[in-house]
């Protein structure tokens, strides 16, 4: 009787078509009986199919490449110009913006205190300024947490700095679909010319 641990170990090899027939039958029998392994096998198959379907290279027409670079240069120049003009009025506006934020925060805290649902229980000696100072820090942890949740694993965009494993051997990951099928590709012609009739293992290559 096969156990789930062994079944899991054999799954990828089986999906690659590299598991010997007897083991494959044992695995199929287990998967048919075990819903958890069935789910695991389906998930693994989906992952492997996703990897296999990726291209190892793609052609970009020269004209498109040039147009893209030109557009990037124009956008960068426009952004630099905008940053230069923004600098002087930002200096004037920042204090006003800070003042406005303080006023809004004070009003918001005042409204919360006045609503009576959840009073902030002012202690003797507590001034309005102290409460105002506490309000933004209450909101900080969820913001930080959501940023952590939206880390590299959760986004599809390429990070500016790759994880060390990826940085160490980027071409390993670029060639992953090829590496997965390496044995098939090394003996490609021999396998292609292998005959399937009459149960004999023959090859012309």
């Amino acid at each position: 009787m096969m156990r789930c641990r062994r079944a899991t170990r054999w799954m990828v090899t089986a999906l690659d078509g590299e598991l010997p027939a007897r083991r494959r039958r044992a695995l199929d029998g287990h998967v048919a009986r075990c819903p958890a392994c069935r789910h695991e096998m389906a998930t693994t198959a989906a992952v492997l199919q996703g990897v296999g379907g990726l291209a190892t290279s793609s052609e970009v027409p020269g004209r498109l490449e040039q147009a893209t670079f030109r557009r990037v240069r124009l956008l960068a120049a426009a952004e630099a110009e905008r940053a230069a003009t923004r600098a002087w009025w930002m200096r004037l506006r920042l204090p006003a913006l800070g003042f406005a934020t303080a006023v809004v925060a004070t009003v918001a805290v005042g409204l919360m205190r006045g609503s009576g649902d959840r009073p902030l229980a002012p202690r003797p000696g507590d001034g309005g300024r102290r409460v105002v100072a506490q309000a933004p820090t209450k909101d900080k942890p969820p913001l930080v947490a959501s940023r952590e949740r939206g880390g590299p694993q959760a986004t599809a965009t390429v990070p500016a700095e790759p994880p060390p494993e990826l940085a160490a051997a980027p071409e390993l990951f670029m060639d992953l679909p090829l590496l997965r099928n390496m044995e098939k590709l090394e003996h490609f012609e021999t396998i292609r010319t292998t005959t399937l009739d009459d149960g004999e293992e023959q090859s012309n290559g």
Binding site: A21, F173, T194
Partner: protein
Amino acid sequence: MKRLGIVALLTAVLAAPVVRAQQPRPWHQLSPDEQRRAWENYRRYQQLPEHKQRSLEERYQRFQAMPPQDRDRLRQNYETYRGFDPGQRQEFGQKYRRWKSGQH
């Protein structure tokens, strides 16, 4: 002496692409498209079991150690394989299993 210099220069120029082809490129030398592909594959790789990850690393080492023409042949075969329709792929899979069983 001058002739020797020319020979040395020619050797360096002719050998340079070969040496460059054998050197793995660092991340910052990949094009944005290559970086995106590597990143997507990396995320998939992370989901594979540990023994499979090790096996892929070993294959990568072997692939890197191959002469450039062998690597080109593999890439060419992969492109052909990718171009198979589902029926051709299934047939190739059957042939592969048949061939594999004959290896043991």
